[in-house]
Amino acid sequence: MIIETGANGFNLLIPLLSFSVNVTFQAFLFRSRSCGLLKSEYIGFTLGLVLLLSLQLSLHPMLPELTLDALAIVIVNLLIFCGLSYCYFHFINLCTTARRIRLVRDLFASPSGLTLDQILENYNAQDMLSKRIQRLLNSGQIVEQNGRYFASKHLVLFAAWLMVILKFIFLGKGSEYD
């Protein structure tokens, strides 16, 4: 008996195509300054996800008759798309916020090299602090009132706690700031 799973070459391309749409729209929206960086990432991801689900539905128009094998393909494609998008999200974060990448780029701009004092002249803790506070204020994660900061949204906070848990699982240690 032949079981129709919908498995074919096109199925393999669906997550790649959807990921391409994610990257293309994210880059287009941000380059044209239609929206901020984080918003462009959300929109790109959403459009890619919509395309992926639409293509999967077009392959399986009769959802009630979806076999377990076909459902497995849909789930695997979703995982591939989410995995690629996750990597792209972090790649952009590295481009914009990573300290090591910033230092590498500063050193690249000075082929003859830099002393530690020159490195700290270009980029130091106070620069980093003001940039990051500004980003947190701009994104509404924190607010300032009467010379004090207050937490307002919980997205970054959720990410922070997730990182604490993952760090404990991977490395068995707590924050280096404690």
Partner: protein, 93 residues
């Protein structure tokens, strides 16, 4: 690939996440704006990352000067190319 990226993000604490948690822990009384300057220092957030570059052979330290290795140069080119593509103006970090 996702695991590698997550590991590198977990390996070193993000100052933004630490700052957010510090503000959250302060609760309803808030966290004084000026207090961050006391514990976010070059010794804590910048110099260890410079040392990481040398440890990971991305940069070399010779005669008091830090210089990129070929590996570091390639890394810088990849990120500079994508930053230019996205037209990112802020220096980052």
């Amino acid at each position: 690939m996702a695991y590698l990226i997550t590991y590198s993000a977990v390996e070193v604490d993000s100052p933004s996440l630490v700052m957010t948690m510090t503000i959250q822990k302060a609760g309803g009384k808030g966290f004084p704006v000026t207090d961050f300057k006391n514990f976010i220092t070059d010794e804590l957030v910048v110099i260890p990352r410079v040392n990481d570059l040398v440890h990971d052979k991305i940069a070399k330290f010779e005669g008091g000067i830090y210089k990129l290795t070929p590996k570091g140069i390639n890394l810088a080119k990849i990120f500079n190319t994508y930053r230019n593509f996205l037209k990112l103006k802020d220096k980052g970090g």
